[in-house]
């Protein structure tokens, strides 16, 4: 699987480049051109899921570990916001960081335990953890209301003069967090921390021989991915207003996996592009909605077989062959 190795970037080597700025400008203008609220809501959801996909990419793409517990952290983040708001009257702006912190903490602890297992065992262990979280949320009725779920979750309170009650405001808020996530991950990748993660992914024996604490590196990646899933979950709860145990369903992890794969595992923009393409298409095309999972499952198999590096990889090969031909 060809994965992205940013070659020796110094943190000073310019900003993110032209393309991300263009995308950001387009994203800022986009909501103004959408016909109605329905599309705005899909856009907002896409932003939220893209954050979660970026999180999965950190542990899967950067550190190379297939964690299937991702949906569990999404659920924890979502329920943290929901329960703190409805049971303790905690505002969204306190609940969200609380949820993220809870996910980071539980991610650290769970990662410490699960990451001692490798490869297949790790995947199965994390799948079990994800299921346990889902089942506990579903069955612990006194805390989470079980199947009934939580309703009446208040959205973000106004910050100064800016109110977040409208769909468009929420859309920009989600975009803000997504941009923040993208910047954070870019900085992570282009730093010694990111370089170390990728070294661990590629060859943990060699990494260890040069003094890298492999366990700590993987755990850092796991914690970050859990925190990002928690951020996405918290936003999800605050925006939708109600929540059921299905938000922690393992299926969510598989959706994220597909988004990341389509865009390109390990690439910086891949998870975001993948989310928009797959989630966007699945919402907008009714025919896709009906047999959504049939297509998703098939897509996953076809992609991993013929295009394991996703769109980002295909693009990179294209550029590389053009460059090679020009020489």
């Amino acid at each position: 699987m060809a994965l992205l190795h940013p070659t020796a970037h110094t943190p000073r080597s310019g900003g993110p480049g032209l393309v991300p700025w263009a995308v950001l400008v387009a994203a800022l203008i986009l909501p103004l051109g959408l016909p109605n609220d329905y599309y705005l809501e899909i856009l907002t959801q896409a932003y939220v899921f893209a954050i979660s996909a970026c999180g999965l990419n950190v542990i899967l793409g950067l550190a190379g570990q297939l964690s299937l517990a991702h949906s569990g952290f999404f659920g924890i983040g979502a329920y943290a916001v929901a329960l703190l708001a409805t049971k303790a009257g905690v505002s969204f702006w306190l609940g969200l960081p609380a949820g993220i912190a809870l996910c980071a903490l539980s991610g650290y602890v769970i990662g410490s335990i699960c990451l001692r297992s490798k490869g297949h065992y790790f995947a199965i262990f994390t799948m079990a953890v994800g299921i346990i979280i889902h089942l506990v949320i579903q069955k612990w009725e006194s805390l989470t209301h079980g199947h009934i779920g939580v309703i009446g979750i208040p959205g973000p309170d106004p910050v100064g003069p800016i109110s977040f009650d409208s769909t468009i405001a929420r859309s920009y808020l989600a975009l803000f967090f997504l941009a923040l996530t993208a910047v954070a991950i870019t900085r992570l990748v282009r730093s010694p921390v990111g370089r170390t993660l990728m070294a661990v992914r590629e060859n943990d024996m060699l990494a260890e021989a040069v003094g890298v604490d492999v366990m700590a590196a993987k755990r850092t990646a796991f914690t970050i991915s859990a925190a990002l899933a928690g951020l996405a979950g918290g936003l999800f709860a605050g925006f939708i207003g109600f929540l059921g145990p299905e938000s922690a369903n393992v299926e969510m992890t598989f959706n994220m996996l597909l988004y990341v794969m389509v865009g390109g595992i390990g690439s910086l923009s891949g998870p975001i592009a993948g989310t928009f393409i797959v989630y966007g298409l699945s919402q907008v095309l009714a025919v896709v909605q009906q047999c959504q999972m049939v297509i998703f499952g098939l897509a996953l198999v076809v992609l991993i077989r013929f295009m394991p590096a996703g769109l980002a990889g295909a693009l990179r090969s294209l550029v590389r062959s053009r460059v090679a031909r020009a020489q």
Binding site: L3, H5, T7, S191, P192, T196, L206
Partner: protein, 252 residues
């Protein structure tokens, strides 16, 4: 002073004893060779010293500290670096990236620094890049920084492996058959490089099959056969040791 000692070091895999009660004493600043027939346990010995594998019994003392139960990355940070017999790399990363990873243990910047692009991060990145280019130059790989490590020749990859091990300024360097798979010309260059490294104060422990490399470089040589140390001494002594001749020509 003795930089590295092992006391009755033993490593067994099930019924097979790969390293059998080996006592070793390596003087600081020296180049010591380890030779022996195939399967004698030389690489396993390296694996146990570098803590890539746990010892079954015995002790390892490095720079006066007992490191027997430390983890591989911990002894690496204490100053033991190594190369591997079979070239082992980081996927399709560039040569520079490889060496930068090797330098990581000398930097302190962490996740927060990375996210905030702190001054410490910028400073350490500059430092790391300078150190990396330096060591690549010493290893004869200037100009190849941006090439993918897997695109380098076999010999260049060996030099890269040495560069990665060197950049963290180790006190002890374990070289596992550095001349394997390269021709005589290149071997001469390699010998020069190893002499340069030793001259800079790095203690070297060298596993080698090519006799002229060993005889030329090493002040002391240890011979392993079937996991046991069967001889130890200067090149001259080893050359005439009947047990050594027997091991190479006799039963094997």
């Amino acid at each position: 002073m003795t930089l590295l000692e092992t006391h009755r070091l033993r490593k067994s895999f099930g019924g097979l004893c790969a390293v059998d009660d080996v006592d070793l004493a390596v003087a600081a600043g020296s180049i010591t060779g380890i030779i022996g027939p195939n399967g004698a346990g030389k690489t396993t010995l390296f694996n146990v010293i570098s803590r890539a594998l746990p010892a079954s019994s015995g002790r390892i003392v490095f720079n006066g500290d007992d490191v027997t139960s430390l983890q591989a990355h911990q002894v690496a940070r204490l100053g033991i670096a190594r190369t591997f017999q079979a070239t082992t790399l980081f996927g399709n990363a560039t040569a520079l990236d490889h060496v930068l990873v090797g330098y990581r243990q000398r930097t302190r910047a962490g996740l927060i620094d990375a996210l905030l692009r702190s001054n410490r991060l910028t400073r350490e990145e500059d430092e790391a890049h300078d150190a990396a280019r330096d060591v690549l130059r010493i290893a004869g790989l200037s100009g190849h920084e941006a090439r993918r490590a897997q695109d380098l020749t076999q010999e260049q990859q060996k030099r890269l492996a040495i560069a990665i091990a060197l950049v963290a300024k180790p006190r002890l360097l374990l070289l596992d058959e550095p001349s394997a798979g390269i021709n005589t010309d290149q071997t001469r260059g390699l010998i020069t490089l190893i002499e340069q490294i030793a001259a800079a104060g790095v203690t070297i422990l060298l596993i080698e099959h090519q006799m002229q490399v060993v005889m030329q470089l090493c002040r002391r040589i240890m011979v392993l056969d079937d996991g046991k140390k069967i001889a130890e001494g200067t090149p001259e002594e080893i050359r005439h040791d009947p047990a050594v001749l027997d091991a190479y020509l006799g039963r094997h």
